[in-house]
Each structure stands twice: as C-alpha cells, then as structure tokens.
C-alpha cells in the first residue's frame, strides 16, 4: 500500500492529510478536519485541479491589463496550455467582472472570465 501525504489547501488550517492508495485508487484518508479536506485529498491524489489566475491586455482601457481567472478549476497539467491562450487574448474596454474572455480554455470546457472592471480610457488623456 502506498501512502501519500499532502497539505490541505482548502482553508488556512492546512491540515496534514494522509491518503492510502492501492493500485491508483484511494483506500483510506486520514487527518482531515472537514468534508472539504477529505474531498480535496481524494481529488488531489487522483485528479489534481487548480483555478488559474492571470491578466489579459486591454485595448483602450483606463488600465493596461485586466485580471482574469478560469471560471472553475482545471486539471493541473493544463495550466501552461491555459496560460498560453490567456497571453494571446486582448480585451476591449470597457470590461466588467464576469465578462467571458475565452469560452473554453485548453479544451477543458472552462471559460476564462474577468475579475475586475476596467473602464474606457478617458478621451482627455
């Protein structure tokens, strides 16, 4: 039986969780405090995912970039493919929080959305 130790990232408690694995499936999980921790550990040892956050260039905006994130978590191994697509994006001002800037990132079916408002650049500038 293989034992994997991990630190829960669900909240600041950072519980030390141990997952006992047998042939790629989870046999036992110990050390968690809440259901979220248990779920995290089960997922982390079989299908780890992350929310990716970054910025996208804005044309004609009051700020040069707008902060973005994947609407949901995506598989960990897709992070760099997702970043490549995010870096190729250009948004047109104004941008509102929640605006979809990319429908489906890296074939995950997950959208990239803005997390901040960027107004149009005032003409006087």
């Amino acid at each position: 039986m293989e034992k994997r130790e991990l630190t829960c990232i669900g909240c600041p408690l950072g519980c030390l969780i141990t997952a006992a694995m047998e042939g790629g499936t989870v046999v036992e999980i110990t050390g968690y405090t809440c259901q979220r921790g248990r779920d995290y550990a089960a997922k982390e040892v079989t299908n780890p995912t992350r929310i990716v956050t970054s910025t996208v260039r804005v044309e004609g905006g009051a700020c040069p970039v707008v902060s973005v994130r994947t609407k949901a978590d995506i598989p960990k191994e897709k992070i760099f493919a997702c970043m490549k697509e995010i870096n190729a994006l250009v948004a047109a001002a104004p941008v509102k929080p929640g605006d979809i800037l990319l429908e489906d990132t890296a074939g995950t079916g997950v959208a990239v959305i803005a997390t901040k408002a960027v107004a149009k650049r005032p003409h006087s500038e």
């Binding site: 990716v52 902060s67 870096n87 929080p97």
Partner: protein, 420 residues
C-alpha cells in the same frame, strides 16, 4: 470646515469593511480617503484566488473580494475620495489632506478610523552587501508591475524571504514564463501560509531553501547574480556554504511594516512588536474616538480577518459618534506570555467588551501538540489544544466576558503556550 461623523483613512479592505459596518450601525456622514487611483487597496494587485472563504463561503480573487465590499459601500452611498493623500491628523481629529481637484483641504471628524495598511520592508533594512543594480524589487512592487501595469520585471528570478507575497510571485512569474530558481528563507520555517507553499512552489518544482540568505549581489547596471549561503542558528552566514545563482531579478519578501506615520504624529501610542497602535477591546487607540484596524494595526495573513476586525472598528466608531460607547474605565492589560509575541487588543475594559471578544496573536516559533492557555491573574480560564501552531499563521481565542467578570479586581490576562 466640513465635518463628518467618521473619516476613514485608507480605502482598502479594512477601510471599506469599517465604512460599511459603521453605516449599518447608524453613523451619519462617512468619508473614505484613499491615496491610490482606485479603491480596494492591495487587493487590486492580488489577482490570485483564495480570498473570502470565511466572509463569503466562496473562493474569490482579490479584485472580486474588493468588488463585493465596494458594491456594499456604493449601495450605502458612502462617498470615497480617491487620489487623495492624508498629510496630517490632529489630536483634535482635524484631518488635513490633498488631491488634484481640491488642493489642500481640512475636514473635521467625529471619529477617525485608521486603515492605512502596511508596506514592505525594503533592501535597505537587510544589510545585504554588494552593488545596487536595477532588478531588485520588493515582491509587492513586482506584483503591482505584473498584475496592474502589465510589465514583467525580469526573466531569471531569485526570491529572498518566504512571505506570502514572495510565494505568490514565485508562481506568478513562473506562469508568465520566467524561471524562478529558488526561494531562500533565513529562518528555519516558512513565513507564508502552507497552502501557498503547496500551490506556488511545490506545484512548479521551485525549491524553498530554509536557513539561507543572500550574502552578495553582483552586477553594476543590471543585476547579474546573487550568492546564497546557509546561516547558523543566530542568522550568521556559514563560510563555505556559498552558492551562486545567475539571475536578472531579485524579489524581496522579507516582512511587512504597518504604515503608521500619521498615527505616530497624532500621538497614538504604539506597540513595539506589532509596530501598530495599542488598542483596547473596541479597537480604539489611546485617543478616544480614534480607531485602528487591518494591517495598520497588525499584519494579517487573511483578508477575511481584516474585514471582520474592521467591521468591529466601524461599529464601535459608530457607537462612539452616537454617544453609545461608554467612556473607557480602567483597562486590564492583555499580556503576551511564554511563546507569544504579541496580542491584539493589548488592553480590555471589561465593562465594554463583547460576550466573546476575539483576541489575536502570533507565536514566536513552530509548536507541535501545543497547549494554548488564557489566565486571568494566574487563574486558568481557557485552554485550547493545537496540533500545530506557526508564527506565519495568526491565532485567535475568543475571550469570554463572564470569565473576566468573575475575577474581581482583575489586573492582567496572560495568553501563553504552556506545552509544546
């Protein structure tokens, strides 16, 4: 002179949460003064997720978290002046500020809430030898450049200090195509949250070298490389352990300092350890009607705790201006005992304290299987077992009022780590 019930200095998470809570608690005219070009403070550059799990039971990014509070402030019609620098606050609560529209102006405040946040410790505080080339940034400066100005400060990066911003920037620079070679920490433990070690370093295979520091900086015009060395228990570099790293960028994540120039010059009593004001149970400083909250009071790890603390400061400021906050009668000191570096609040007027008063503190090193105790004049009133406590993660106990009242003539409350 225009008068306001409450003037809040700083429009970051603390200032916004204080304003919203003060308004809901019946304060009249409130004004927030913010020096940056937009409200939201440091959250605007913290584009990563992980904010709001306590406050909103969901995981938000920094701008989204700030957006929630901004929306509440707007809905309550709380005015904010951006691009406005507060120059001075008198002990009579006259606030002198300036901006491009109004020039210099003075306003009178019934109560003041200090919510100026903190700033980063800079290279000058570290005594690192070597040249002063371009390419050395505080982690927060780099964060602002990348996340708000859309500018990458470098390609090959070494990070000194394992504070949360340093860890977050290790990931951010990696995602943007830079090579982060190492994070060095002088202390034997990480300064940031464990989840950031996992998600920002381990995910990307970035090594964290504990007990290491930078002992040399090379490059005249632009940074060319740094030398790391192991340090002994007293923090002195050990000869023969030097390792060279070629890099064009050095990020410093070596501590945050509450920004209290305004507080000091108005005569607010300061705490030597937190570098923030000494406050009582109502988060009120030694000047009646002047409150402090958030990172200007003591550096927090989580914005959720800032919002909660600031809301209490806002409610108390509202009670103060409405004449509902009884005058402070003799205070009991809250003392940092064995293993505890500081406690906030530092004193308590028991007659004014809430039924369950949050007292926040940090320990001085990592303790395992620790027993946290609270003693009122020596008598144990509360204890809590913790599997692990770390200096990098703020601790909290809820102090029960009835236990404090039960001890007649109470003089001091001591919080300590008694085992571990």
């Amino acid at each position: 002179m225009r008068a306001y019930d409450i003037v809040i200095v700083g429009g970051g998470p603390a200032g916004l949460a204080a304003a919203v809570a003060a308004k809901k608690a019946g304060a009249g005219d409130i004004l927030i003064l913010e020096r940056d070009r937009e409200m939201g403070g440091i959250l605007n550059q913290c584009i990563h997720n992980g904010f709001g799990l306590h406050t909103f039971q969901e995981e938000l990014t920094g701008p989204e978290y700030a957006g929630r509070f901004l929306a509440m402030a707007r809905q309550l019609g709380i005015p904010c002046e951006i691009d406005t620098m507060v120059l001075e606050i008198g002990s009579d609560k006259v606030v002198t500020a300036m901006n491009h529209k109004k020039g210099m102006f003075r306003i009178r405040a019934g109560a003041v809430i200090l919510a100026m946040g903190c700033r980063e410790r800079a290279r000058g505080a570290l005594q690192i030898p070597g040249y002063r080339p371009a390419g050395i940034f505080s982690a927060g400066t780099a964060q602002r450049l990348v996340n708000m100005e859309g500018y990458m400060p470098g390609r090959e990066v070494v990070i000194l200090g394992s504070g949360d911003i340093g860890l977050i920037m290790a990931r951010r620079m990696t995602l943007e195509g830079a090579k982060v070679k190492v994070v060095a920490e002088r202390l034997p433990y990480c300064g940031g949250l464990q989840r950031n070690v996992v998600q920002c370093l381990e995910d990307y295979g970035i090594p964290l070298k504990l007990c290491h520091t930078v002992v040399d900086i090379r490059g005249r015009e632009r940074l060319e490389g740094v030398t790391l060395a192991r340090v002994d228990e007293s923090g002195r570099p050990i000869p023969g352990t030097e390792e060279d790293y070629a890099c064009d960028t050095l990020l410093l994540s070596v501590g945050l300092i509450p920004e209290n120039e305004l507080s000091r010059s108005m005569g607010v009593e300061m705490d030597r350890i937190t570098a923030g004001p000494v406050v009582n149970e109502s988060l009120e400083t030694n000047i009646p009607g002047v409150f402090a909250c958030g990172n200007v009071l003591h550096v927090h790890d989580l914005v959720d705790y800032v919002s909660e603390e600031a809301a209490r400061a806002g409610e108390n400021a509202a009670r103060f201006v409405r004449g509902l906050l009884p005058e402070c009668e003799g205070a009991v000191s809250v003392v940092a005992g064995r293993g505890v570096r500081y406690c906030v609040p530092g004193r308590i007027d028991i007659t004014r304290m809430a039924e369950r008063l949050p007292v926040r503190f940090r320990v001085d090193r990592i303790y395992k299987e620790a027993l946290l105790t609270v003693r009122c004049d020596g008598k144990l009133v509360l204890h809590k077992r913790k599997k692990m406590i770390k200096p990098g993660e703020m601790e909290e106990i809820l102090l029960p009022r009835e236990k404090c009242l039960a001890q007649s003539g109470l003089r001091s409350i001591v919080i300590a780590v008694e085992e571990g």
